[in-house]
Amino acid sequence: MKLRALVPIIYILFLMLPIYWLVAMSLKTTNEILGGFSLFPQKWTLESYRTIFTDPSWYWGYINSIAYVSLNTVISLAAALPAAYAFSRYTFLGDKHLFFWLLTNRMAPAAVFALPFFQLYSSVGIFDTYLAVALAHCLFNIPLAVWILEGFMSGVPKELDETAYVDGYSFPAFFIKIFVPTIKAGIGVAAFFCFMFSWVELLLAKTLTAVAAKPIAAVMTKTSSSAGFELGLLAAAGVLTIIPGAIVIYFVRNYIAKGFALGRV
């Protein structure tokens, strides 16, 4: 019995090791990093973090990333909510095929779409804007959001809809005032997954931006290649990219496991 309890602990330790190393590196001075191996920082320094918070080319990367990720989450949810409702409540011509086709878009390799996306978004004139990245990430986030929301909505009895009509609610009023609050856990889970997949994606985000909307991840790749061996700075930037995700996951911790269990497919 005790042996069993050890399994998750060992696994979590394994997960924490590289993260610990990243944090340790971010707190070391450049001299110490290049000087050789040390398990703990000998001389603590927040110099790397100070650089990031004072240099606009660094901190704007974070603002840009958060901006397009939030925009993508809003668009994905706004479009996915009515669609998921339709899939959970109505049958209509071709619904099953449509559902499967939506999911196939998750299978498209981002590398395949990088160049066409660049051309498409340049031609409609929104290259290097938050909107471009947010729309591009809809490709894989909308199918996922529809799928998760549909699972949650199917768990709500149809009587709720019918009672609301009897009580004289119009459809939009019912949807916004009654239905959405009922499935707020599902919306939370869907928002979490949209946030997650938009936040971690780099290839499309990097292809679709140049200067104005450049994500933090792209700032990092550029810095590491041009400035040579600034490992401490790179590590500090990496640590800071983990924090937003950690905050979001803390809020939805009780729902993550449930989100997938309820989904169909």
Binding site: Y11, M16, P18, W21, Y90, F92, W199, I242, V248
Partner: protein, 286 residues
């Protein structure tokens, strides 16, 4: 019972427009490139299916596809059983559940290039924790810029580190949805813990595990950023997976025709495998 109602299409319309804009137009662009030759200046010549033939016959494509299949095969064989085992060992209730879930989900939320950079720093032979331990403490010669084996071991460990938690979360969701009555019945029957796993937990997890395998298959088959940052496809070509090879062809050499043909073959392989697996797993349902 669901209502038969064509109004459903109206509700689906925004999703349809957004996804079609993102999926169909670029896909048509790729198809367009795949049958033409270009020398720049927007001059295109009809090429027919030549690119497809060329890609399907090229050893470079076979090599990349083989490496990709090997990578995906290995990580599925490691992550799925490992994820299930960890999910089974997790507490079912209590304060530790949230702590475990939050900590385990952490790697999933790290940007992919940061994952690559993090593992790069972690495995540097002289100053990385893992690299130093292997080389100096354990005396194993480890340098992934030199040895293809070390590079492979590193990208696989990295992927296991990165994605096993997704399998754990899904499997765990399946396990906690099993009512207590099932376990009590099994206890009365004197079932062994293997029998409980084989006849109660595994069938109940079938659906979420199907999703887990599908997601891991699709995502690992499309993997690009992490191995690119970590190894750059090297040493030599030893870790050049499909997406890395594709980006090299399309953006590095600007061979749009062959790259487009390769994209379509790549996409078709992913679709076919996913569809086959999905159909087989869902055969006995409904």
């Amino acid at each position: 019972m669901k209502t038969q109602n064509q109004k459903g299409w109206l509700f689906v319309l925004p999703v349809l427009i957004l996804v079609a804009f993102n999926a169909l137009i670029p896909l048509m662009t790729v198809v367009n490139y795949s049958v033409q030759e270009t020398f720049g200046n927007n001059l295109f010549f009809w090429q027919g299916l030549d690119w497809f033939e060329q890609v399907l016959r090229s050893e470079r494509f076979h090599g990349a596809l083989g490496r990709q299949a090997m990578f995906t095969g290995i990580i599925l064989a490691v992550e799925i059983p490992l994820g299930v085992a960890i999910a089974l060992a997790m507490p079912r209730s209590g304060p530790w559940v949230s702590v475990c879930l939050v900590l385990m989900a952490l790697p999933l939320l790290i940007p992919w290039n940061v994952v690559g950079a993090m593992w790069n720093i972690f495995t540097l032979p002289d100053i990385g924790l893992a690299g130093y331990t292997l080389n100096t403490v354990l005396g194993i010669d480890y340098d992934m810029t030199q040895s293809p084996f070390a590079a492979w071991a590193t990208i696989i460990t990295m992927d296991v580190w990165h994605w096993t938690s997704l399998v754990v979360l899904l499997a765990y969701a399946g396990i906690i949805s099993i009512p207590d009555a099932y376990y009590q019945a099994a206890k009365i029957d004197g079932a062994s813990s293997w029998a409980v796993f084989r006849h109660i937990q595994l069938p109940k997890m079938k659906r979420v595990l199907t999703i887990a395998v599908l997601l891991r298959f699709m995502d690992s088959f499309n993997i690009y950023t992490e191995p690119f940052v970590l190894t750059g496809g090297g040493p030599g070509n030893s870790t050049t997976l499909l997406s890395i090879d594709l980006v090299k062809t399309a953006l590095g050499q600007f061979d749009l025709g062959p790259a487009a043909a390769m994209s379509l073959i790549y996409f078709a392989v992913t679709l076919l495998v996913s569809w086959l697996f999905y159909t087989i797993m869902m055969r006995d349902e409904e």
